[in-house]
């Protein structure tokens, strides 16, 4: 499902498949020396390298590292000002007045990466209407504030 997720944002190949490992439902980038330990050790690992995300019944939950990998290649992004970014990581939806820049001309139903002023990905949203419209334009699907809330929703694929 990780590929389906990445496809929503870019057709570019951003993962080195030679290093991609799946343990249960979680994906990792695992270098060969770590992989040898995984293979040779009979114990079940709970974590195995650089975490990229996990499959869940309702979809896929990306890791923050995968979100940052998408930033330079994502087709559709919105950049928020400082206050808008703060509201986003408090799980709030995005209003047009919080957006200082957008790329890819997102339309209703498009998934967008949500960036802060430093071009760091702080979340994923779904456009509810044209970005240039007034009012609520992007629904917050997932944001990095989940590390405080300890709750995260999956991205449906």
């Amino acid at each position: 499902m990780i590929w389906d997720f990445i496809d929503q944002f870019t057709k570019k190949n951003i993962i080195d498949e030679k290093q991609l490992v799946k343990v249960d439902r979680a994906y990792y980038l695992t270098d060969p020396s770590l992989r040898r330990i995984l293979v040779n050790t009979k114990q079940k690992a709970l974590h195995a390298g650089l975490f990229l995300g996990r499959d869940v019944s309702s979809g896929f939950i990306p890791s923050t590292h995968l979100l940052q990998l998408l930033v330079p290649v994502a087709d559709k992004t919105i950049t928020l000002h400082k206050k808008g970014a703060w509201l986003c990581i408090c799980a709030r939806d995005i209003f047009s007045e919080s957006i200082v820049k957008s790329t890819g001309n997102p339309k209703k139903g498009d998934l967008v990466l949500i960036l802060n002023e430093y071009k760091e990905c702080i979340g994923i949203g779904k456009a509810t209407q044209k970005i240039s419209a007034r009012g609520l334009v992007v629904k917050n699907l997932l944001d990095i504030g989940w590390f405080a809330r300890k709750k995260v929703r999956a991205i449906k694929l």
Partner: protein, 295 residues
């Protein structure tokens, strides 16, 4: 009765310490895999937080801000880990290198695991063990948050580490312990000498297993956040009596030397190479660290 503040006050006085309330300042450790000290200082300044270097740590800073530094983007993006200053020295002394195979025995919630990875430049291999299932999610969250690339986590009691059939260049045994009064305001009501002795017995079991899986010439750091000699110097004496390790100088400039006389009992002189952090002197939580080399 071997409990209560009166009992421990007398004990600490015999050991050269005293009980003084300490208010710890929030402290962080810069994640050098994700940012630099200079960039983080500037970034935090832009949002109204000031960072002041903790001199005896490598990348530790006291944080002064009107908000919680654990509740902002910079924390969620993994630019730092909120970690008290004293525990940061354990990995400094361990000094793991990029080619090492390192074992972190009691890993959750992952503060030192992520720190080991940073010191290794994200290279090499770290095996992180955690016995308590309810603590594992926090470790996994922190590994994700800090973008840590080179760790395998197993749910396992470190006392059974030999089952992995690996021999380690370096081991961090930050042992489960009785804790100390600085980090637990209710400590004197909760703890007694019997409990401390039980804790020390568990630590000895872990130490024995760790020596088995440490390569000859390998380094183990044993640390606790306890002030009790049963968990610290007396355990080091027990380990020395086995004959297969020696204690090395931590080269720390903070903390008192390890005690070589405990309640009238003379211990090996090399235990002075360990360090003991009395809160009233170091202004940190209580802490003990020993650098152990396998012969």
């Amino acid at each position: 009765m071997e409990k209560g503040i009166g009992f421990f006050r007398k004990r600490y006085e015999q050991l050269g310490g005293k009980i003084v309330p300490i208010k710890l300042k929030p402290t962080l450790r810069v994640n050098i895999l994700r940012t630099t000290e200079k960039k983080l200082i500037a970034r935090m300044k832009s949002i109204g937080a000031t960072l002041k270097k903790v001199p005896f740590t490598r990348y530790g800073y006291e944080v002064t801000s009107k908000f919680s530094a654990g509740a902002i983007q910079e924390h969620f993006l993994g630019y730092y880990y909120m970690q008290e200053a004293a525990p940061q020295v354990a990995v400094d002394v361990l000094n793991p290198k990029s080619g090492d195979l390192v074992l972190d025995c009691c890993a959750a919630p992952g503060g030192k695991t992520t720190q080991i990875s940073e010191w290794m430049g994200g290279k090499g291999r770290i095996i992180a063990l955690e016995k308590k299932r309810h603590r594992i999610p926090s470790a996994l969250h922190n590994l994700e948050r800090m973008h840590t690339p080179n760790v395998i986590v197993y749910e396992m009691d470190a006392a059974n580490a030999g089952r992995l059939q690996l021999m380690y260049d370096k081991i961090l045994l930050d042992a489960p312990c009785a804790g100390n009064y600085v980090t637990d305001k209710d400590w004197f009501n909760k703890r007694d000498l019997e409990g401390i002795r039980k804790s020390a017995a568990i630590q000895r079991r872990l130490l024995a297993e760790m020596v088995k899986v440490l390569k000859p010439g390998g380094i183990m750091i044993y640390s606790t956040c306890s002030l009790e000699p049963e968990e610290n110097e007396l355990n080091m004496q027990w380990l020395l009596n086995r004959g297969d390790i020696k204690l090395e100088d931590t080269k720390l400039k903070i903390g008192d030397l390890g005690l070589t006389t405990v309640f009238g009992k003379k211990l090996d002189k090399s235990i002075a190479r360990c360090r003991r952090f009395w809160p009233h002197k170091t202004k940190t939580q209580g802490f003990f660290i020993a650098k152990i080399k396998k012969k």
